[in-house]
Amino acid sequence: MGLEPLIRMGIGIALILALAPVVMMWLTWLERKTIARIQNRFGPTRVGRYGLLQPLADGVKMLTKEDIVPAGADRWLHLLAPIVIVVPALMLFAVLPFGPRGIVLNLNTGLLFFLAVTSTQTIAVFMAGWGSRSKFSLLGALRTVAQLAAYEVPMVLAAATVVMISGSLSTTAIVEAQAARWFVATPWGFTAFIIFLLCALAEVNRTPFDLPEAESELVGGFHTEYSGMKFALFYMAEFLGTFAISALGATLFLGGWRGPWLPGWLWVLVKTYGLVFVMIWIRGTWPRFRIDHLLAFAWKCLLPVSLANVLAAGLWAVCPWPWGTVAAVVLVAATFLVTSQIWIPEASCKDSPRVVS
């Protein structure tokens, strides 16, 4: 084994650690600007042209703020939680392909690695909520566990359809398998893409699935008792996660680096920022779910539909054209219609006031 692969890997790791925080900082700018425009405001304008230096000013401010730890808190959990949430968020970047060879670690189980590492954030959030020893923090953390557990299963099932058709867990091989057409252009791929996008919003705790940190009802949820740099690290993890999961969505369903005229890495960025923009747009448009509706939507709508979608992908591959396509569409549509006839009336007839818990 020569030295060359080691050096390549070292450069890749250095690039991740140098660029990921930069990506994160200007994602906060992008989000604030976009949300402001949606709400007829200007957003940051004072620090630098178009407020472009605002993230740096925020960073300095966060660094000079006092770190407050509640008196009864478990100090170790309180300190470890922001570290435990940021490290996995950075590791996600290792398996994102930016070109046929533009990937830091070409794991043959890249997709599985990504999904497994994403799910560790549940632990970090619960550490933060439990370690703070505050009611709002603990409520937020408990909601997070229920929410992430509920939305992880449909997301993994949606990704499973891609594995079935491309026959590989490697992120580069999945993009190679989309040479003829992007997976989003197939009946099962379209359904899986919608399910994946909805679950991605829930996995990174973004509106309308931001119950773990719902400002207007839980003060700040699991990070109520955090201030200064530790608080900033939770936001860092959220924005890194938003970028990484959008890039995974682009890889699985939108053909990754494939596209005409532009170089491959630019296509990845265009598609990723496109999905990020959709996520911000949704935040600017939709109100927050209520917790019982949120869980009912995951367990009673997304889960049956994503199970049916796995079968639909199988039918699409096994049956000759056009019967496979017809069968896939009919199966998914029928499942959605049948379950929605049950869960929507169930959810809406229980609209009495309730205690949050």
Partner: protein, 123 residues
Amino acid sequence: MGQGSYTLNYLGLALLAAAALVVPLLPILLARVIAPKKPGSTKQSPYECGVPTAGDPWSQFRVQYYLYAIAFVVFDVEVLFLYPWAVVFTGLGLAGFIAMAAFLLVLAGGLAYLWQKGALEWD
């Protein structure tokens, strides 16, 4: 970058995990040096809308969370079985599809049972 060898890839992951620790640790340590430190009993009390804390938050929580957690484990293990099948699916043909369809239908039956029993209700 390129299809690296198995050991090299997992060595890379370990390296990345170790190096990534710098990203959260550096600002935390830096903040410890420059941020002011003025603790006070009011400031250190847990937030509760301005009133003194009533009771310990480290107490029992609703049993519903455990039910969701068990349902999650069931379906997560299912997915664990699904992934190896999904990787080799294209080579299995109709027989492989029917076998997994039967497995998924049994699980869908489990979901229907949970639903009918009210285990998926919030209250």
